[in-house]
Amino acid sequence: MMKILVVDDEQDIKDLFEQKFRKEIKSKELEFVFTFNANDALAYLDSQNSEVVLILSDINMPGMSGLELLKEIKIKSFDPNPKIFMITAYGDEQSHRESLDLGASDFLTKPVNFIELKEKFKSILL
Protein backbone atom coordinates (compact mmCIF):
# COMPACT_ATOMS: atom_id res chain seq x y z
CA MET A 1 0.00 0.00 0.00
CA MET A 2 1.38 3.37 -1.05
CA LYS A 3 0.00 6.44 0.64
CA ILE A 4 -0.08 9.55 -1.53
CA LEU A 5 -0.79 13.04 -0.23
CA VAL A 6 -2.40 15.35 -2.78
CA VAL A 7 -2.23 19.11 -2.06
CA ASP A 8 -4.39 21.34 -4.26
CA ASP A 9 -6.78 24.22 -3.65
CA GLU A 10 -9.19 22.82 -6.25
CA GLN A 11 -11.49 20.53 -4.26
CA ASP A 12 -12.69 18.55 -7.29
CA ILE A 13 -9.21 17.10 -7.59
CA LYS A 14 -10.33 14.64 -4.88
CA ASP A 15 -13.18 13.20 -6.97
CA LEU A 16 -11.00 13.13 -10.03
CA PHE A 17 -8.20 11.15 -8.36
CA GLU A 18 -10.57 8.85 -6.50
CA GLN A 19 -12.30 7.91 -9.73
CA LYS A 20 -9.21 7.74 -11.87
CA PHE A 21 -7.52 5.41 -9.41
CA ARG A 22 -10.67 3.65 -8.23
CA LYS A 23 -9.29 0.21 -9.17
CA GLU A 24 -6.00 0.84 -7.40
CA ILE A 25 -7.86 2.17 -4.36
CA LYS A 26 -10.22 -0.81 -4.36
CA SER A 27 -7.34 -3.23 -4.60
CA LYS A 28 -5.59 -1.23 -1.86
CA GLU A 29 -2.54 -0.67 -4.00
CA LEU A 30 -2.87 3.05 -3.43
CA GLU A 31 -4.33 5.27 -0.77
CA PHE A 32 -4.95 8.98 -1.27
CA VAL A 33 -5.09 11.73 1.31
CA PHE A 34 -6.18 15.19 0.25
CA THR A 35 -5.51 18.60 1.77
CA PHE A 36 -6.59 21.83 0.12
CA ASN A 37 -3.79 24.06 1.33
CA ALA A 38 -0.14 23.76 2.23
CA ASN A 39 -0.56 24.41 5.94
CA ASP A 40 -2.97 21.47 6.32
CA ALA A 41 -0.52 19.34 4.36
CA LEU A 42 2.31 20.21 6.74
CA ALA A 43 0.10 19.51 9.74
CA TYR A 44 -0.86 16.12 8.29
CA LEU A 45 2.79 15.26 7.59
CA ASP A 46 3.78 16.26 11.11
CA SER A 47 1.31 13.74 12.52
CA GLN A 48 1.45 10.93 9.96
CA ASN A 49 4.69 11.45 8.06
CA SER A 50 5.94 7.90 8.11
CA GLU A 51 3.08 6.65 5.99
CA VAL A 52 3.24 9.12 3.12
CA VAL A 53 5.44 7.91 0.31
CA LEU A 54 4.64 10.55 -2.26
CA ILE A 55 3.34 14.08 -2.24
CA LEU A 56 1.64 15.61 -5.28
CA SER A 57 1.48 19.34 -4.80
CA ASP A 58 0.01 22.16 -6.79
CA ILE A 59 2.24 25.26 -6.99
CA ASN A 60 -0.28 28.08 -7.14
CA MET A 61 -2.33 28.03 -3.98
CA PRO A 62 -3.62 30.81 -1.81
CA GLY A 63 -1.52 31.25 1.30
CA MET A 64 1.59 29.12 1.34
CA SER A 65 2.56 28.13 -2.18
CA GLY A 66 3.60 24.67 -3.34
CA LEU A 67 7.22 25.74 -3.65
CA GLU A 68 7.24 27.02 -0.08
CA LEU A 69 5.71 23.74 1.05
CA LEU A 70 8.45 21.90 -0.80
CA LYS A 71 11.10 24.01 0.96
CA GLU A 72 9.49 23.36 4.36
CA ILE A 73 9.34 19.62 3.80
CA LYS A 74 12.97 19.53 2.73
CA ILE A 75 13.98 21.54 5.80
CA LYS A 76 12.00 19.24 8.13
CA SER A 77 13.50 16.18 6.41
CA PHE A 78 10.92 13.59 7.37
CA ASP A 79 11.93 10.01 7.77
CA PRO A 80 11.39 8.34 5.38
CA ASN A 81 11.63 11.36 3.16
CA PRO A 82 8.59 11.37 0.83
CA LYS A 83 9.12 12.02 -2.84
CA ILE A 84 7.51 15.20 -4.08
CA PHE A 85 5.94 15.81 -7.50
CA MET A 86 5.03 19.37 -8.32
CA ILE A 87 1.95 19.92 -10.47
CA THR A 88 1.06 23.27 -12.01
CA ALA A 89 -1.13 24.81 -14.66
CA TYR A 90 1.82 26.99 -15.68
CA GLY A 91 4.34 24.83 -17.45
CA ASP A 92 6.97 27.56 -17.33
CA GLU A 93 10.67 26.88 -17.28
CA GLN A 94 11.33 28.96 -14.16
CA SER A 95 8.90 27.01 -11.96
CA HIS A 96 10.23 23.77 -13.37
CA ARG A 97 13.86 24.58 -12.61
CA GLU A 98 13.00 26.03 -9.21
CA SER A 99 11.05 22.89 -8.26
CA LEU A 100 13.90 20.60 -9.19
CA ASP A 101 16.44 22.87 -7.46
CA LEU A 102 14.39 22.74 -4.28
CA GLY A 103 14.45 18.96 -4.41
CA ALA A 104 11.26 17.93 -6.17
CA SER A 105 11.46 14.52 -7.83
CA ASP A 106 9.32 15.47 -10.77
CA PHE A 107 7.44 18.32 -12.38
CA LEU A 108 4.09 17.77 -14.09
CA THR A 109 1.87 20.21 -15.90
CA LYS A 110 -1.92 20.24 -15.84
CA PRO A 111 -3.91 18.67 -17.36
CA VAL A 112 -2.31 15.64 -15.77
CA ASN A 113 -1.63 12.73 -18.04
CA PHE A 114 -2.93 9.92 -15.81
CA ILE A 115 -1.39 7.09 -17.82
CA GLU A 116 1.99 8.69 -17.36
CA LEU A 117 1.25 9.35 -13.70
CA LYS A 118 0.35 5.69 -13.11
CA GLU A 119 3.66 4.69 -14.69
CA LYS A 120 5.47 7.04 -12.34
CA PHE A 121 3.64 5.55 -9.34
CA LYS A 122 4.64 2.07 -10.42
CA SER A 123 8.28 3.08 -10.74
CA ILE A 124 8.20 4.40 -7.19
CA LEU A 125 6.53 1.26 -5.89
CA LEU A 126 9.12 -0.97 -7.43
Binding site: D15, L16, K20, P62, G63, S65, Q94, V112
Partner: protein, 452 residues
Protein backbone atom coordinates in the same frame (compact mmCIF):
# COMPACT_ATOMS: atom_id res chain seq x y z
CA UNK B 1 -37.18 155.29 -49.87
CA UNK B 2 -34.35 156.00 -52.25
CA UNK B 3 -31.58 153.82 -53.71
CA UNK B 4 -29.00 154.90 -51.10
CA UNK B 5 -31.36 153.76 -48.33
CA UNK B 6 -31.75 150.37 -50.09
CA UNK B 7 -27.97 149.92 -50.39
CA UNK B 8 -27.65 150.94 -46.75
CA UNK B 9 -30.22 148.36 -45.71
CA UNK B 10 -28.48 145.66 -47.78
CA UNK B 11 -25.08 146.43 -46.23
CA UNK B 12 -26.62 146.43 -42.75
CA UNK B 13 -28.34 143.11 -43.65
CA UNK B 14 -24.97 141.56 -44.63
CA UNK B 15 -23.27 142.91 -41.51
CA UNK B 16 -26.02 141.43 -39.36
CA UNK B 17 -25.68 138.12 -41.19
CA UNK B 18 -21.95 138.14 -40.53
CA UNK B 19 -22.53 139.00 -36.88
CA UNK B 20 -25.14 136.27 -36.50
CA UNK B 21 -22.87 133.72 -38.19
CA UNK B 22 -20.26 134.48 -35.64
CA UNK B 23 -22.52 134.93 -32.64
CA UNK B 24 -24.69 131.94 -33.26
CA UNK B 25 -21.73 129.78 -34.27
CA UNK B 26 -23.61 128.91 -37.41
CA UNK B 27 -21.37 125.83 -38.10
CA UNK B 28 -23.34 123.95 -35.46
CA UNK B 29 -26.55 124.33 -37.56
CA UNK B 30 -27.49 122.07 -40.38
CA UNK B 31 -27.44 123.63 -43.85
CA UNK B 32 -31.17 124.33 -44.08
CA UNK B 33 -31.38 126.10 -40.73
CA UNK B 34 -28.23 128.08 -41.46
CA UNK B 35 -29.80 129.30 -44.69
CA UNK B 36 -33.01 130.29 -42.83
CA UNK B 37 -31.00 132.26 -40.28
CA UNK B 38 -29.05 134.06 -43.00
CA UNK B 39 -32.28 135.12 -44.71
CA UNK B 40 -33.83 136.26 -41.40
CA UNK B 41 -32.08 139.68 -41.18
CA UNK B 42 -33.25 140.43 -44.69
CA UNK B 43 -36.80 139.58 -43.59
CA UNK B 44 -36.47 142.09 -40.72
CA UNK B 45 -34.94 144.67 -43.04
CA UNK B 46 -37.81 143.97 -45.45
CA UNK B 47 -40.25 144.61 -42.61
CA UNK B 48 -38.47 147.89 -41.79
CA UNK B 49 -38.59 148.78 -45.45
CA UNK B 50 -42.32 148.18 -45.60
CA UNK B 51 -42.67 150.26 -42.40
CA UNK B 52 -41.13 153.22 -44.24
CA UNK B 53 -43.90 153.20 -46.80
CA UNK B 54 -46.69 155.39 -45.56
CA UNK B 55 -49.48 154.01 -47.63
CA UNK B 56 -50.08 150.31 -47.76
CA UNK B 57 -51.09 148.92 -51.11
CA UNK B 58 -52.31 145.39 -51.76
CA UNK B 59 -48.74 144.30 -52.74
CA UNK B 60 -47.13 145.76 -49.63
CA UNK B 61 -49.83 144.17 -47.47
CA UNK B 62 -49.12 140.83 -49.17
CA UNK B 63 -45.36 141.26 -48.77
CA UNK B 64 -45.83 142.24 -45.13
CA UNK B 65 -47.89 139.15 -44.42
CA UNK B 66 -45.32 136.84 -45.98
CA UNK B 67 -42.32 138.45 -44.30
CA UNK B 68 -44.16 138.37 -40.96
CA UNK B 69 -45.10 134.68 -41.33
CA UNK B 70 -41.54 133.93 -42.44
CA UNK B 71 -40.11 135.55 -39.28
CA UNK B 72 -42.61 133.62 -37.09
CA UNK B 73 -41.67 130.40 -38.85
CA UNK B 74 -37.95 130.98 -38.34
CA UNK B 75 -38.54 131.81 -34.68
CA UNK B 76 -40.49 128.61 -34.12
CA UNK B 77 -38.13 126.46 -36.13
CA UNK B 78 -34.94 127.73 -34.49
CA UNK B 79 -36.18 128.22 -30.96
CA UNK B 80 -34.13 125.34 -29.57
CA UNK B 81 -30.79 126.40 -31.02
CA UNK B 82 -28.16 127.95 -28.83
CA UNK B 83 -28.27 131.76 -28.57
CA UNK B 84 -31.25 132.01 -30.93
CA UNK B 85 -33.50 133.02 -28.04
CA UNK B 86 -31.11 135.83 -27.18
CA UNK B 87 -31.29 137.09 -30.75
CA UNK B 88 -35.04 137.27 -30.45
CA UNK B 89 -34.77 139.16 -27.16
CA UNK B 90 -32.47 141.50 -29.05
CA UNK B 91 -34.58 141.93 -32.14
CA UNK B 92 -38.06 140.91 -30.94
CA UNK B 93 -39.18 144.34 -29.60
CA UNK B 94 -38.04 145.91 -32.83
CA UNK B 95 -39.99 143.40 -34.92
CA UNK B 96 -43.06 143.87 -32.75
CA UNK B 97 -42.72 147.64 -33.02
CA UNK B 98 -42.39 147.44 -36.79
CA UNK B 99 -45.49 145.26 -37.00
CA UNK B 100 -47.47 147.69 -34.86
CA UNK B 101 -46.11 150.61 -36.81
CA UNK B 102 -47.16 149.08 -40.12
CA UNK B 103 -50.64 148.28 -38.83
CA UNK B 104 -51.10 151.63 -37.01
CA UNK B 105 -49.84 153.84 -39.84
CA UNK B 106 -52.18 152.05 -42.24
CA UNK B 107 -55.00 153.08 -39.91
CA UNK B 108 -53.83 156.41 -38.36
CA UNK B 109 -51.07 157.44 -40.71
CA UNK B 110 -47.36 157.85 -39.84
CA UNK B 111 -46.38 159.89 -36.82
CA UNK B 112 -42.69 160.79 -37.36
CA UNK B 113 -42.16 161.90 -33.78
CA UNK B 114 -43.36 158.69 -32.20
CA UNK B 115 -41.43 156.68 -34.82
CA UNK B 116 -38.21 158.58 -34.16
CA UNK B 117 -38.63 158.13 -30.39
CA UNK B 118 -39.09 154.43 -30.77
CA UNK B 119 -36.25 154.12 -33.27
CA UNK B 120 -33.86 155.88 -30.88
CA UNK B 121 -34.97 153.57 -28.10
CA UNK B 122 -34.37 150.52 -30.29
CA UNK B 123 -30.90 151.67 -31.35
CA UNK B 124 -29.96 152.04 -27.66
CA UNK B 125 -31.68 148.76 -26.76
CA UNK B 126 -29.97 146.85 -29.57
CA UNK B 127 -26.50 148.22 -28.74
CA UNK B 128 -26.87 147.80 -25.00
CA UNK B 129 -28.43 144.35 -25.14
CA UNK B 130 -26.15 143.37 -28.06
CA UNK B 131 -23.09 144.41 -26.03
CA UNK B 132 -24.33 142.44 -23.05
CA UNK B 133 -24.99 139.40 -25.22
CA UNK B 134 -21.54 139.70 -26.78
CA UNK B 135 -19.82 139.64 -23.41
CA UNK B 136 -21.98 136.71 -22.32
CA UNK B 137 -21.19 134.94 -25.55
CA UNK B 138 -17.47 135.41 -25.17
CA UNK B 139 -17.61 133.94 -21.66
CA UNK B 140 -19.78 131.14 -22.96
CA UNK B 141 -17.34 130.49 -25.78
CA UNK B 142 -14.42 130.25 -23.38
CA UNK B 143 -16.42 127.85 -21.28
CA UNK B 144 -17.44 125.89 -24.34
CA UNK B 145 -13.86 125.70 -25.52
CA UNK B 146 -12.80 124.40 -22.13
CA UNK B 147 -15.66 121.90 -22.32
CA UNK B 148 -14.61 120.99 -25.83
CA UNK B 149 -11.05 120.49 -24.68
CA UNK B 150 -12.18 118.33 -21.81
CA UNK B 151 -14.46 116.43 -24.13
CA UNK B 152 -11.58 115.94 -26.54
CA UNK B 153 -9.34 114.69 -23.75
CA UNK B 154 -12.10 112.35 -22.66
CA UNK B 155 -12.64 111.25 -26.24
CA UNK B 156 -8.91 110.64 -26.64
CA UNK B 157 -8.63 108.59 -23.49
CA UNK B 158 -11.81 106.74 -24.48
CA UNK B 159 -10.25 105.96 -27.83
CA UNK B 160 -7.00 104.76 -26.30
CA UNK B 161 -9.01 102.71 -23.82
CA UNK B 162 -11.02 101.23 -26.66
CA UNK B 163 -7.79 100.41 -28.42
CA UNK B 164 -6.47 98.66 -25.33
CA UNK B 165 -9.78 96.82 -24.89
CA UNK B 166 -9.65 95.70 -28.52
CA UNK B 167 -6.11 94.47 -28.07
CA UNK B 168 -7.05 92.59 -24.90
CA UNK B 169 -10.15 91.15 -26.56
CA UNK B 170 -8.02 89.87 -29.41
CA UNK B 171 -5.58 88.38 -26.92
CA UNK B 172 -8.38 86.76 -24.95
CA UNK B 173 -9.99 85.39 -28.10
CA UNK B 174 -6.67 83.90 -29.06
CA UNK B 175 -6.23 82.40 -25.61
CA UNK B 176 -9.78 81.08 -25.68
CA UNK B 177 -9.11 79.32 -28.97
CA UNK B 178 -5.88 77.89 -27.62
CA UNK B 179 -7.71 76.75 -24.48
CA UNK B 180 -10.47 75.16 -26.51
CA UNK B 181 -7.88 73.27 -28.47
CA UNK B 182 -6.09 72.16 -25.31
CA UNK B 183 -9.45 71.09 -23.90
CA UNK B 184 -10.18 68.96 -26.96
CA UNK B 185 -6.70 67.47 -26.78
CA UNK B 186 -7.17 66.80 -23.06
CA UNK B 187 -10.46 65.06 -23.68
CA UNK B 188 -8.87 62.89 -26.34
CA UNK B 189 -5.97 62.12 -24.02
CA UNK B 190 -8.36 61.34 -21.19
CA UNK B 191 -10.33 58.82 -23.19
CA UNK B 192 -7.04 57.37 -24.40
CA UNK B 193 -5.87 57.12 -20.80
CA UNK B 194 -9.08 55.48 -19.68
CA UNK B 195 -8.58 53.00 -22.45
CA UNK B 196 -4.95 52.37 -21.58
CA UNK B 197 -5.79 52.00 -17.89
CA UNK B 198 -8.37 49.43 -18.85
CA UNK B 199 -5.88 47.65 -21.05
CA UNK B 200 -3.19 47.81 -18.36
CA UNK B 201 -5.49 46.22 -15.82
CA UNK B 202 -6.54 43.69 -18.45
CA UNK B 203 -2.86 42.92 -18.97
CA UNK B 204 -2.53 42.31 -15.26
CA UNK B 205 -5.52 40.03 -15.52
CA UNK B 206 -4.42 38.03 -18.52
CA UNK B 207 -2.18 35.59 -16.71
CA UNK B 208 -4.76 35.20 -13.97
CA UNK B 209 -7.43 34.61 -16.54
CA UNK B 210 -5.30 32.00 -18.30
CA UNK B 211 -4.84 30.18 -15.02
CA UNK B 212 -8.46 30.54 -14.04
CA UNK B 213 -9.60 29.16 -17.38
CA UNK B 214 -6.98 26.45 -17.53
CA UNK B 215 -8.11 24.92 -14.26
CA UNK B 216 -11.82 24.47 -15.08
CA UNK B 217 -10.91 23.42 -18.60
CA UNK B 218 -8.65 20.70 -17.18
CA UNK B 219 -11.52 19.47 -15.06
CA UNK B 220 -13.85 19.47 -18.05
CA UNK B 221 -11.34 17.37 -19.98
CA UNK B 222 -10.50 15.10 -17.07
CA UNK B 223 -14.09 14.34 -16.09
CA UNK B 224 -15.16 13.87 -19.71
CA UNK B 225 -12.36 11.40 -20.21
CA UNK B 226 -13.28 9.71 -16.95
CA UNK B 227 -16.89 9.38 -18.05
CA UNK B 228 -15.77 7.75 -21.25
CA UNK B 229 -13.86 5.20 -19.21
CA UNK B 230 -16.81 4.69 -16.85
CA UNK B 231 -19.25 4.12 -19.69
CA UNK B 232 -16.89 1.63 -21.26
CA UNK B 233 -16.68 -0.11 -17.89
CA UNK B 234 -20.47 -0.12 -17.68
CA UNK B 235 -20.72 -1.74 -21.10
CA UNK B 236 -18.31 -4.43 -20.06
CA UNK B 237 -20.31 -4.90 -16.88
CA UNK B 238 -23.54 -5.28 -18.86
CA UNK B 239 -22.01 -7.98 -21.05
CA UNK B 240 -21.27 -10.15 -18.05
CA UNK B 241 -23.54 -13.10 -17.39
CA UNK B 242 -23.59 -12.41 -13.71
CA UNK B 243 -24.39 -8.69 -13.69
CA UNK B 244 -23.52 -6.65 -10.63
CA UNK B 245 -26.44 -4.21 -10.61
CA UNK B 246 -25.16 -2.41 -7.61
CA UNK B 247 -21.85 -1.68 -9.31
CA UNK B 248 -23.66 -0.63 -12.49
CA UNK B 249 -25.77 1.76 -10.45
CA UNK B 250 -22.65 3.15 -8.79
CA UNK B 251 -20.98 3.71 -12.15
CA UNK B 252 -24.07 5.50 -13.48
CA UNK B 253 -24.15 7.70 -10.44
CA UNK B 254 -20.49 8.56 -10.89
CA UNK B 255 -21.12 9.38 -14.55
CA UNK B 256 -23.96 11.66 -13.55
CA UNK B 257 -21.88 13.40 -10.87
CA UNK B 258 -19.05 13.85 -13.30
CA UNK B 259 -21.40 15.40 -15.84
CA UNK B 260 -22.48 17.88 -13.21
CA UNK B 261 -18.85 18.72 -12.54
CA UNK B 262 -18.23 19.18 -16.26
CA UNK B 263 -21.15 21.56 -16.41
CA UNK B 264 -19.98 23.40 -13.30
CA UNK B 265 -16.45 23.92 -14.57
CA UNK B 266 -17.70 24.80 -18.04
CA UNK B 267 -19.83 27.53 -16.56
CA UNK B 268 -16.91 28.70 -14.45
CA UNK B 269 -14.73 29.17 -17.54
CA UNK B 270 -17.62 30.79 -19.36
CA UNK B 271 -18.11 33.28 -16.54
CA UNK B 272 -14.45 34.20 -16.52
CA UNK B 273 -14.35 34.80 -20.26
CA UNK B 274 -17.53 36.84 -20.09
CA UNK B 275 -16.08 38.87 -17.25
CA UNK B 276 -12.92 39.51 -19.21
CA UNK B 277 -14.85 40.58 -22.28
CA UNK B 278 -17.02 42.82 -20.18
CA UNK B 279 -13.96 44.38 -18.61
CA UNK B 280 -12.38 45.28 -21.95
CA UNK B 281 -15.60 46.51 -23.52
CA UNK B 282 -16.81 50.07 -23.18
CA UNK B 283 -19.10 50.45 -20.21
CA UNK B 284 -22.74 50.29 -21.21
CA UNK B 285 -23.59 52.45 -18.23
CA UNK B 286 -26.70 50.35 -17.73
CA UNK B 287 -27.52 48.98 -14.33
CA UNK B 288 -28.23 45.31 -14.19
CA UNK B 289 -28.54 42.55 -11.64
CA UNK B 290 -25.20 41.61 -10.12
CA UNK B 291 -24.42 38.77 -7.77
CA UNK B 292 -22.05 40.88 -5.72
CA UNK B 293 -20.43 38.09 -3.72
CA UNK B 294 -19.72 36.07 -6.85
CA UNK B 295 -18.31 39.08 -8.62
CA UNK B 296 -16.06 39.93 -5.66
CA UNK B 297 -14.84 36.34 -5.45
CA UNK B 298 -14.17 36.17 -9.16
CA UNK B 299 -12.09 39.35 -9.20
CA UNK B 300 -10.27 38.38 -6.01
CA UNK B 301 -9.10 35.18 -7.68
CA UNK B 302 -8.28 36.92 -10.96
CA UNK B 303 -6.22 39.58 -9.21
CA UNK B 304 -4.44 36.95 -7.13
CA UNK B 305 -3.53 34.72 -10.04
CA UNK B 306 -2.69 37.69 -12.23
CA UNK B 307 -0.14 38.97 -9.74
CA UNK B 308 1.06 35.46 -9.08
CA UNK B 309 1.75 34.86 -12.74
CA UNK B 310 3.67 38.10 -13.02
CA UNK B 311 5.73 37.65 -9.90
CA UNK B 312 6.52 34.13 -8.81
CA UNK B 313 7.59 35.30 -5.37
CA UNK B 314 4.20 36.90 -4.75
CA UNK B 315 2.07 35.15 -2.23
CA UNK B 316 -0.70 36.22 0.07
CA UNK B 317 -3.69 34.77 1.76
CA UNK B 318 -7.10 35.56 0.36
CA UNK B 319 -9.88 35.69 2.86
CA UNK B 320 -13.53 36.29 2.20
CA UNK B 321 -16.40 37.03 4.49
CA UNK B 322 -19.48 37.21 2.34
CA UNK B 323 -22.92 37.95 3.75
CA UNK B 324 -25.36 35.84 1.75
CA UNK B 325 -28.13 38.38 2.41
CA UNK B 326 -26.32 40.78 0.05
CA UNK B 327 -27.56 38.63 -2.82
CA UNK B 328 -28.33 40.45 -6.04
CA UNK B 329 -27.70 44.18 -6.28
CA UNK B 330 -28.40 46.63 -9.09
CA UNK B 331 -25.27 48.14 -10.58
CA UNK B 332 -23.08 48.48 -13.63
CA UNK B 333 -21.46 45.05 -13.72
CA UNK B 334 -18.29 45.97 -15.50
CA UNK B 335 -17.70 49.14 -13.50
CA UNK B 336 -18.12 47.41 -10.14
CA UNK B 337 -15.77 44.70 -11.43
CA UNK B 338 -13.15 47.33 -12.19
CA UNK B 339 -13.47 48.80 -8.72
CA UNK B 340 -12.91 45.34 -7.20
CA UNK B 341 -9.98 44.70 -9.47
CA UNK B 342 -8.34 48.05 -8.67
CA UNK B 343 -8.80 47.83 -4.92
CA UNK B 344 -7.87 44.15 -4.63
CA UNK B 345 -4.81 44.53 -6.87
CA UNK B 346 -3.67 47.48 -4.76
CA UNK B 347 -4.22 45.46 -1.58
CA UNK B 348 -2.17 42.55 -2.88
CA UNK B 349 0.49 44.98 -4.10
CA UNK B 350 0.91 46.60 -0.70
CA UNK B 351 1.08 43.35 1.29
CA UNK B 352 3.65 42.06 -1.17
CA UNK B 353 5.70 45.26 -0.85
CA UNK B 354 5.59 44.95 2.93
CA UNK B 355 6.71 41.35 2.74
CA UNK B 356 9.59 42.26 0.44
CA UNK B 357 10.60 45.12 2.73
CA UNK B 358 10.57 42.86 5.79
CA UNK B 359 12.52 40.22 3.89
CA UNK B 360 15.22 42.77 3.10
CA UNK B 361 15.56 43.39 6.84
CA UNK B 362 15.35 39.63 7.56
CA UNK B 363 12.29 40.27 9.64
CA UNK B 364 9.50 38.35 7.90
CA UNK B 365 8.84 36.23 10.93
CA UNK B 366 5.27 36.47 12.07
CA UNK B 367 4.05 38.41 9.04
CA UNK B 368 1.32 36.70 7.06
CA UNK B 369 0.18 38.88 4.16
CA UNK B 370 -3.57 38.74 3.96
CA UNK B 371 -6.26 40.47 1.88
CA UNK B 372 -9.84 40.24 3.07
CA UNK B 373 -12.96 41.01 1.09
CA UNK B 374 -16.20 41.19 3.01
CA UNK B 375 -19.75 42.19 2.22
CA UNK B 376 -22.71 43.06 4.40
CA UNK B 377 -26.20 44.42 3.93
CA UNK B 378 -27.30 47.14 6.30
CA UNK B 379 -30.83 48.51 5.88
CA UNK B 380 -30.98 49.61 2.25
CA UNK B 381 -27.25 49.70 1.77
CA UNK B 382 -24.66 47.22 0.69
CA UNK B 383 -21.27 47.65 2.32
CA UNK B 384 -18.12 46.18 0.82
CA UNK B 385 -14.84 46.18 2.73
CA UNK B 386 -11.48 45.42 1.19
CA UNK B 387 -8.77 45.19 3.83
CA UNK B 388 -5.09 44.45 3.77
CA UNK B 389 -2.38 44.26 6.40
CA UNK B 390 0.15 46.03 4.19
CA UNK B 391 2.09 49.22 4.68
CA UNK B 392 -0.84 51.58 5.16
CA UNK B 393 -0.62 55.23 4.12
CA UNK B 394 0.52 58.52 5.56
CA UNK B 395 -2.09 61.29 5.82
CA UNK B 396 -0.38 63.12 2.95
CA UNK B 397 -0.78 60.11 0.68
CA UNK B 398 -4.30 59.40 1.92
CA UNK B 399 -5.39 62.91 0.93
CA UNK B 400 -4.29 62.39 -2.65
CA UNK B 401 -5.20 58.81 -3.49
CA UNK B 402 -8.40 59.68 -5.34
CA UNK B 403 -6.70 62.31 -7.48
CA UNK B 404 -6.14 61.26 -11.07
CA UNK B 405 -2.55 60.28 -11.94
CA UNK B 406 -1.51 60.01 -8.31
CA UNK B 407 0.43 56.83 -7.73
CA UNK B 408 2.97 55.59 -5.23
CA UNK B 409 4.04 52.80 -7.54
CA UNK B 410 7.36 53.12 -9.41
CA UNK B 411 7.20 54.77 -12.85
CA UNK B 412 5.62 52.54 -15.43
CA UNK B 413 3.90 50.30 -12.90
CA UNK B 414 0.77 52.31 -12.22
CA UNK B 415 -1.30 54.68 -14.31
CA UNK B 416 -2.49 56.53 -11.22
CA UNK B 417 -6.02 56.29 -12.53
CA UNK B 418 -7.30 53.18 -10.77
CA UNK B 419 -8.53 54.82 -7.58
CA UNK B 420 -9.78 58.02 -9.21
CA UNK B 421 -11.84 55.91 -11.60
CA UNK B 422 -13.09 53.73 -8.77
CA UNK B 423 -14.12 56.87 -6.94
CA UNK B 424 -16.02 58.13 -9.99
CA UNK B 425 -17.72 54.77 -10.49
CA UNK B 426 -18.91 54.49 -6.91
CA UNK B 427 -19.92 58.12 -6.32
CA UNK B 428 -21.12 59.39 -9.70
CA UNK B 429 -22.09 56.04 -11.17
CA UNK B 430 -23.80 54.43 -8.19
CA UNK B 431 -24.57 57.32 -5.79
CA UNK B 432 -22.40 55.53 -3.30
CA UNK B 433 -19.53 56.38 -1.06
CA UNK B 434 -15.94 55.24 -0.88
CA UNK B 435 -13.97 55.80 2.28
CA UNK B 436 -10.55 54.77 3.39
CA UNK B 437 -9.26 53.89 6.84
CA UNK B 438 -5.56 53.45 7.11
CA UNK B 439 -2.73 53.30 9.58
CA UNK B 440 0.86 53.50 8.51
CA UNK B 441 2.60 50.16 8.87
CA UNK B 442 -0.61 48.40 9.92
CA UNK B 443 -2.88 48.25 6.91
CA UNK B 444 -5.67 49.81 4.93
CA UNK B 445 -9.40 49.23 4.58
CA UNK B 446 -11.48 50.61 1.75
CA UNK B 447 -15.16 50.83 2.63
CA UNK B 448 -17.64 51.11 -0.20
CA UNK B 449 -21.28 51.84 0.45
CA UNK B 450 -23.81 51.42 -2.34
CA UNK B 451 -27.43 52.38 -1.70
CA UNK B 452 -30.00 49.95 -3.08
Amino acid sequence: MDISQLIGFTIIGFLIVKYLDNYLDIKQFDEYKARLLRVLPFGILGLTFIGQITTLTFITEFMFLWVFLFIIYVIIDLKDQRNVKNIFWLLGPYIVYQVFQIISQSIYGRDEKVAEGFETFFVIWIFAFGGYLNTQNRKEKVRLMADQKEKQTLEDSKKSLEHIVNLRTAEITEQKLALEQSMAELKATQSQLIHSEKMASLGELTAGIAHEIQNPLNFVNNFAELNKELIEELRQEQKKEQRDYENEQQILEDVFNNLEKIMHHGKRADGIIKGMLQHSRKSTGKKEEINLNELADEYLRLAYHGLRAKDKTFNAQMSTNFDSSVGIIMGIHQDIGRVFLNLITNAFYTVNEKKKMLAENNNTHGYEPIVTVSTTRFNNEVIIKISDNGNGMSDAVKDKIFQPFFTTKPTGQGTGLGLSMSYEIITAGHNGEIKVETEEGVGTTFIITIPQ
